[in-house]
Symmetry: C2
Subunit: 225 residues, 2 copies
Amino acid sequence: MAANQEEVKLLGVVGSPFVCRVQIALKLKGIEYKFLEENMKNKSELLLKYNPVHKKVPVLVHNEKPISESLVILEYIDETWKQDPILPTDPYQRALARFWSKFIDDKVVSAAWKAVFTVDEKEREKGVEESHEALEILENELKDKKFFGGDEFGFVDISAVFIAFWIPIVQEVAGLKLLTSQKFPKLYKWSQEFVTHPVIKEVLPPRDPLFAFFKELYENLAASK
Amino acid sequence: MAANQEEVKLLGVVGSPFVCRVQIALKLKGIEYKFLEENMKNKSELLLKYNPVHKKVPVLVHNEKPISESLVILEYIDETWKQDPILPTDPYQRALARFWSKFIDDKVVSAAWKAVFTVDEKEREKGVEESHEALEILENELKDKKFFGGDEFGFVDISAVFIAFWIPIVQEVAGLKLLTSQKFPKLYKWSQEFVTHPVIKEVLPPRDPLFAFFKELYENLAASK
């Protein structure tokens, strides 16, 4: 391959918040790429070759070099294509951005998942409670900023796409109130700003099929009680 | 504080592999700091102030700015003090280093902990099995390199201090074989190189009290069956 040629592939599934993170970063930076849709029930040889450790998406493949783990991919994209930086330049601000992204992965995603897709009622309630606690912390962190990144969205906002787009869907599926304008006015306002941002809007998966997918998952689970 | 003055504090406990990571990085780079020993059963006002979200150690405080999460701290240290870099300069190699450090946190630490400190026999066996699987993957990744970082230790080696120093202690406590020279010769050799490295040796906590601490923990757990 000629040195001036770039080949960028993304192994993913439509509807994954982790894949969506990578799509946002690539879109923001204007990187052309080939999206290779995976079937997670019948994983491709390519996925097993490129991510033999976890066998999960997303995998970014840049000139045949594979990178896994969505936050690791975001950092790689930011270091490789410098335009429209995702992370701030100041080391302390970078550390805070990494801290909050990890917080979202460790505390929000698992709690919201538990709140919606757990059969056991007590576990479910615990999931709701933990979601509220984690979202409250983010509400306080956001303060009166438009985005976590400031006037423009950045690393934390991209990591938080799960909160802005996925939580509203799954809470409706389960008839729960996790992120509402009453409970978390700042975070709610942020979520609206974020999902209507021109870059983000173009990358988000279509809502209706995703809603139907989660609805079916939820009903199957409820039926298995 | 004058601009040329640096005040570096580390809130930690002796015997924590996560705190030790930060100590290694500071030692490598020759940064003077004040170690503030925390009592995790009676957390200080300072810890609650500096890490209100997780209330955990390590917390690095640089000129009154607190940073939490050991891997986030390592990146901050590497970006702030450039001498003796911990991460490689090439974006792809940096991505791999971040990937493997996350792998150690997600797959090795929890599995080894489960193998040693779980009461339920089945869970314990699962912990042993998962530990072996994860260590096998690292054995293959290490190949014939002296360190994960190459000729000198780096980000992944520092993250893996838990494997080099803590696993040998806790496996002896529990009479288990997790990391042995027979099972994982390369990883075992690496662990020997690592813990005897002049920089590392100076920073590791004393073995005997740590062994006694885990032994007591283990026996209390066994007695509670």
